[in-house]
Amino acid sequence: MSQAAIRVEGLVKSYGRIEALRGLDFEVPAGQVTGFLGPNGAGKTTTFRALLGLTRPNGGDVEVLGHRVPDQLPELIKSVGAIVEEPGLIKSLSGRANLEVAADTLGFGHDRIDELLEFVGLVADSRRAVGGYSKGMRQRLALAAALLGDPRLLILDEPLDGLDPAGQHAFRSRLRDLALEGRTVVVSSHDLSDVEQLADYVVVIDQGRLVAQGPLEQLLGGRATTVVADDLEQAMEVLGAAGFDATREGAALLVDSSDGSGIVRALAAAGIFPGEVRPERSSLETVFLGITGRS
């Protein structure tokens, strides 16, 4: 993994008798979009609050952008933008005025407000009262507020929750743009399709513990490839000779390898040109249900 933007080891947090986090370990790579997955009550929001110094863990180590939390929060927090719980927008104020209030409260200048309104697509509505905004527009405004300090790391708790498909698409696009600029984006969600369409890397937690983490592609499997060819028996023989383990699956072969180009090269060398070579992926939902034991 590239350099970690977030490193968490043995994180423990209890609320009375309720153990929200039970020795959670994970890492988030820098400069990518990481999906932070877990069912409701898994400990996602508590983890985010711990990352931002909003809750004090009972144990464990948290390091964000190379700074220990909470000890080095003052040096760190300017580099972090977040939407955790309610963004705190004032409905009677315009979108622009809300950003001005947030900038003043956080101690940032107003110089990025125009740029951010444009980035989140709210220039035309910036003078309207936020009370008249759709949920998607409010979330985009909250994203703009989180970006006021030009942060290197964005931590967003369920930002797509409740948005319509168009709103989700617009929001996802903005987040991808931010990752392309080199920022690290961490997005929590219980909606697996959100993360599947957005994330490069995935951390899955359940009952306060890590159950899986890794690049999305790796987590989704990709270890098998389906091959369709005219003469399946001959193709199977050729692939076997090339070291691939292939089995017949109806009118196709299922090859236990993700090396699609290697499979094509082996077949082509024997004069077989497959009609279709398709990587087999599990859906994130299947993987998630499997690793959390809920299938």
Binding site: I77, V80, I90, D104, T105
Partner: protein, 254 residues
């Protein structure tokens, strides 16, 4: 200035503040009616209810308005409490170098807002007194200035305690309940002699003490406190509220 401006917008652009002003105006109007009009129009029903006359009616009215300490308490608790679950508040307080500024900006803006509400209430009372109270005369300009700064001090202390309540409890309902219970309980406790010298309620009365001579002031603790002592007590409670706020913010890890 920008932080003060942000707090100003948060207070003035919500429905809460005008709503509370309306409630204050209604309360002031009702009390003014009973103390200046009711005894005259229905003396047989209002037997024993004193009838205020000018010019005392103005200053007693100002004290009545200043005794509406629920206003700064509730304003501080609700405005700050409404922010507490939000990202901006949370992350702004995480930045320790700005924490004191954040708290002081809220103290200043909420206190000024409450002080202005007290002045509006006093204006309403005075308008009613001018029309309905018997007698003649009105306070001097110096007396009005005295009323104004006294109200400012009272607003400051009770705002500070409201900030302390919500910072400690971090939940609107319990914080409002605790603040109002404190306000009520403290005024009862002030009847106990040894505590009177430290009581915020007594000090509030003490600030206006001379206006109450010969009237219901005889029943209120604090009329014997000197103005300097009353100011000291009020500033002490203000500091206590600020310390509570600071402590509450420090331990905000639920």
């Amino acid at each position: 200035m920008s932080l003060l401006h942000a707090e100003y917008l948060k207070v003035t652009r919500r429905k809460l503040y005008p709503g509370m002003l309306l409630i204050l105006a209604i309360l002031v109007g009702v009390v003014a009616f009973f103390l200046m009009v009711f005894g005259r129009i229905a003396p047989e029903v209002a037997e024993g209810v004193p009838v205020l006359t000018k010019p005392l009616a103005y200053l007693v009215g100002a004290q009545q308005v200043a005794s509406q300490t629920w206003f700064p308490l509730v304003l501080a608790v609700v405005v700050l409490g409404g922010e507490m679950g939000t990202t901006v508040w949370a992350t702004s307080l995480t930045r320790e170098s700005r924490r004191l500024r954040q708290i002081l900006a809220r103290l200043v803006v909420f206190s000024v807002a409450s002080w202005l509400a007290f002045l509006v209430g006093t204006a309403i009372w005075s308008g009613l007194a001018a029309v309905a109270a018997q007698g003649s005369g009105s306070p001097t300009a110096a007396e009005w200035v005295g009323v104004a700064w006294r109200m400012g001090l009272i607003a400051l202390a009770w705002t500070s305690l409201g900030l302390g309540a919500i910072s400690m409890l971090r939940s609107l309902g319990p914080a409002i309940g605790a603040a109002l219970a404190f306000s009520f309980g403290e005024s009862i406790l002030a009847l106990w002699g040894p505590y009177e010298n430290a009581s915020l309620s007594a000090a509030t009365t003490g600030l206006f003490g001379t206006a109450m001579d010969g009237f219901i002031g005889a029943f209120l603790p604090g009329t014997d406190l000197g103005v300097a002592q009353a100011i000291g007590i009020i500033l002490g409670w203000t500091l206590f509220g600020l310390l509570l706020t600071w402590w509450g913010v420090q331990r905000r890890d639920a």
